[in-house]
């Protein structure tokens, strides 16, 4: 393209250089980068645990670590990845960066609260790191009682406290987004002109605000029971361990949608930008996000089909679980239809979007197996479930995150990454992911339970395939770390709109100025309107 790209004279990255200018910043874009650094740190910690788990499972006896260590590895992998990477990932980084830019605002509604959210996240992270280095915790990320309250001798309370604290950063970020989207849209930016990413961030924020307090209460009750033996969950004192499971999944099932809804929003942006076409059925995709957020609160009982739930309760949770699959299916069909007669480029972000649609489809369809009670009875608590939710969370949420990171990287950093390496890495991640997790579906139906440190020898071949895939996947994630960091210093300067995309964020400089826009934009066009005359749009 044009070789005469010049960096803007003033932008948010050169508006102050000291440590203080970062740690006391109120700029949503800098706070997004603080989050980006923190969650990347936790991603590679969680990833290191995953590598050790897969190495250990390369042999049936689990020769690498002891059984207690193994139990701590999968617990810490789950806690770190769910609460410190996946839940904040897209909202706290891309959401923070993009929500004001996409609606034409100068910042979020509460910039100081936004910075406070990051500090709260870090504080929670420190408690979790303390739990980790002081001996770890072995309850599983699910903290089931009475194991977590009576039997476990590990650092349950610091770990629970870390998650409890971090939850407040989710709540506050959610509040910030909701208020910002309601109150700070630029003139002409009506709800139905908003990019679909904002609909999904809005839906996610609703879940964050309404659901997170419940996990906070649950963890407090566990800590109180562990410390003071209150007996909420202890049958010997008239309590009930299943009560804890209800409370836990009332948050933790919607939390799945906290993880995947933002990725769906990213994919809507990517499909539109790289097909240069309006998303098919905009309103259906937008309302599907809200439908998922609402229905997602009504299906928690499908985690407890074998936990003594009554036959009729199980049936109600089963039918509701099938219903929540419908809006997800609607989204997949709409994305696919968007590609019809598009102008499709195969740039790296689009490769991730295609990967997302394929893998999320498999993840969603295997969810139907788990919603069908008779099948769930056989495969729940086996590797089938592990494979299913990794297809949603890694194949879905992380694919979406990686796609979004690549798509907006020129806007965030003002630089271009190496496209060749990026495509190679996307391919490696796709292959490594499938090799890791597809054999686990087979293992699960065969009857290999999850959280097993040792397993029967006849399962070894499938486990070795999975471990081999994990090492490929690990390499796949390290390559972007290298070339993205490299691009910060050596990458070619990015133009304001390197993809030729529409959307307010592409109408300001790369990187944007601290105030985002020289003057507040006035929106007179629909979202993704690629055929309208590009007035005021920088190509």
């Amino acid at each position: 393209m044009s070789s005469t790209v010049l960096a803007p004279a003033h932008h948010y990255l050169n508006d102050g250089f000291g440590v203080k200018s970062w740690l006391l910043t109120r700029d949503h874009k800098r706070i997004a980068l603080l989050y980006l650094a923190s969650i990347t740190f936790f991603f590679f910690i969680g990833g290191a645990f995953a590598v050790m788990i897969r190495l250990d499972l390369a042999t049936p006896a689990g020769d690498l670590v002891s059984d207690d260590t193994y139990n701590k590895l999968f617990t810490m992998h789950g806690i770190v990845m769910v609460f410190f990477f996946l839940i904040p990932s897209i909202p706290a980084t891309l959401g923070n960066f993009l929500v004001p830019l996409m609606i034409g605002a100068k910042d979020l509604a509460f910039p100081k609260l936004n910075l406070a959210s990051w500090y709260i996240y870090v504080l929670g992270g420190l408690f979790t790191l303390y739990a980790l280095v002081s001996g770890g915790v072995d309850t599983g990320w699910t903290f089931y009682t009475p194991f977590s309250t009576v039997a476990s001798t590990t650092k349950v309370i610091p770990a629970a406290l870390g998650i409890f604290i971090t939850g407040f950063s989710s709540i506050l970020t959610g509040l910030n987004f909701i208020v910002t989207i309601h109150r700070m849209r630029a003139p002409g930016m009506t709800w139905f002109r908003m990019p679909l990413f904002l609909w999904s961030i809005y839906a996610t924020s609703l879940i964050n605000v309404l659901g997170t307090p419940v996990i906070a209460i649950t963890l407090l009750l566990i800590a109180a029971e562990r410390l003071f033996h209150f007996g909420f969950f202890d049958p010997a004192r008239g309590g009930d361990p299943v009560l804890m499971q209800h409370l836990f999944w009332f948050y933790s099932h919607p939390a799945v949608y906290i993880m995947v809804l933002p990725a769906m929003g990213v994919v809507s942006e990517l499909v539109a930008a790289f097909c240069r076409k309006q998303v098919f059925g905009y309103a259906f995709v937008a309302f599907a996000s809200l439908a998922i957020a609402v229905l997602g609160f009504l299906v928690w009982g499908h985690h407890m089909f074998v936990a003594g739930e009554s036959v009729y309760a199980a049936m109600i949770f089963s039918i509701l679980s099938f219903m929540v699959a419908i809006p997800s299916a609607v989204k997949v069909f709409n994305w696919t239809a968007t590609m019809y007669k598009g102008s499709i480029s195969w740039d790296t972000p689009m490769l991730y979007a295609i990967g997302f649609i394929g893998l999320f489809t498999i993840g969603g369809l295997t969810g139907l197996f788990l919603a069908a009670i008779a099948i769930d009875v056989h495969v729940t608590d086996t590797y089938f479930v592990i494979a299913h939710f990794h297809y949603i969370m890694v194949g879905g949420a992380i694919m979406g995150y990686m796609g979004g990171l690549h798509y907006w990287w020129p806007k965030i950093s003002g630089r271009l990454y190496n496209e060749f390496l990026a495509r190679i890495a996307a391919g490696i991640i796709f292959l490594g992911f499938n090799l890791t997790f597809f054999p686990q579906f087979v293992l699960g139906y065969l009857g290999m339970p999850r959280r097993y440190h040792a397993y029967p020898p006849e399962f070894q071949v499938l486990n070795v395939l999975s471990s081999a895939g994990a090492s490929i996947l690990g390499v796949g994630y390290l390559i972007p770390l290298v070339y993205l960091l490299w691009s910060l210093r050596y990458g070619r300067l990015a133009s304001d709109n390197p993809w030729g995309a529409v959307g307010l964020e592409w109408m300001t400089t790369s990187p944007p100025p601290t105030q985002n826009f020289a003057e507040t934009p006035i929106v007179t066009w629909e979202a993704y309107d690629y055929r309208a005359p590009a007035e005021g749009r920088v190509a």
């Binding site: 009475p146 139907l368 065969l446």
Partner: protein
């Protein structure tokens, strides 16, 4: 592909075939939609690839007919799966009337089995082929889970509760028992075998050793040792309710509510006697928490159950003569 590497589990119960049939249907649905989506994406990505840097896509905004189609069709398919899955589950959840009962106690990290005839086993359970077997399971400590992959059944085993799970094995052999709910250090070592035998072999195995008599007789001895029989007498003169014929009945409680006398009720009455006082009695029974083990509880329960076959004595005082009627009227409740 690799010898010795199974790709599909054996089918060894009456339920396994029904679960697998639904599984294959779901596989077909999943394969169809995955192939459809993946095929369309790849086809479009190639066919509509960008030919010149400035080209944009067609102005297509959506289509109501398509939206309705891909909302309604998946909905109907999922409802078929729901009904199918729920009906198989319904059969799983309801054991036949006549079952061979075995008590199961899970603890970190072993499975203990008690047959009604008195045999005890650890991490191994012998059952006959072709007969419905009901496992009545509880845990001594944390939550465990009985999982027998070849039978396609699974149930969490919880402290303080009795969970029933049933199966009918269809061919003799040795099948896997695995704990499927994470329970600590040796979770993956909490495994065992279900040995399914021909009825004749099973009879031979049964007669091979029943050291201390039946479970109920052990319970009867314990009932006397713990002096339960001083208050719970068969003649309605004791300070506690008469237990003869009580199992399976509905009793009225002091609170006016009713309770069905099942395993869990008896267990609770022994461990937390004041939790549910039968109407007409004083809360004077001491707790036996810490004095009786889970296995002894099962012996006592089995003894109380065995009392149902004794000659009828005058009906116990708290038991309404017509339990099915009048239970929910306000008048009864106020009492």
């Amino acid at each position: 592909m690799f010898p010795g590497t199974p790709l599909f589990p054996e089918r060894a119960s009456t339920m396994a075939g029904r679960v697998d049939a639904l599984y294959f249907f779901l596989l077909a649905v999943a394969f169809f939609f995955s192939a459809l989506i993946a095929g369309l994406i790849v086809y479009y990505a190639v066919k509509y690839r960008r030919r010149s840097p400035d080209s944009v896509g067609s102005a297509i905004h959506g289509g109501l007919a398509l939206e309705i189609t891909w909302t309604v069709v998946p909905f109907l398919i999922t409802m078929v799966i729901f009904v199918w899955g729920a009906s198989v589950y319904f059969a799983m959840a309801h054991a036949p009337a006549e079952t061979l009962n075995v008590y199961v106690v899970g603890k970190q990290w072993m499975w203990k089995f008690q047959h009604l005839d008195g045999q005890r086993e650890i991490n191994e359970l012998h059952v006959p082929v072709g007969r419905a077997v009901k496992l009545i399971a509880t845990s001594e400590d944390v939550i465990h889970d009985v999982f027998i992959p070849e039978f396609r059944i699974k149930a969490d085993v919880m402290p303080g509760r009795y969970v029933s799970i049933w199966f009918e094995a269809t061919k003799p052999g040795r099948y896997h028992l695995r704990c499927a709910e994470y329970c600590g250090t040796r979770h993956s070592g909490m495994i065992g075998e279900i040995v399914v035998m021909d009825p004749n072999d099973y009879q031979a195995w049964l007669s091979g050793g029943a050291p201390e008599g039946s479970l109920a007789s052990a319970g009867e001895k314990l009932f006397a040792d713990l002096a339960c029989n001083t208050c719970h007498r068969p003649d309605a003169q004791g300070r506690g309710p008469v237990l003869q014929g009580l199992f399976g009945k509905t009793v009225t409680l002091q609170s006016g509510e009713t309770a069905v006398v099942d395993e869990a009720y008896i267990r609770e009455s022994i461990l937390l006697p004041s939790a549910k006082i039968a109407a007409g009695y004083q809360p004077i029974m001491p707790t036996f928490q810490g004095l009786v083990s889970e296995e002894q509880l099962l012996e006592l329960i089995e003894y109380v159950k065995s009392l149902r076959t004794q000659p009828e004595v005058p009906t116990a005082r708290p038991e309404p003569s017509a339990p099915a009627t009048g239970e929910n009227t306000p008048a009864t409740k106020k009492k």
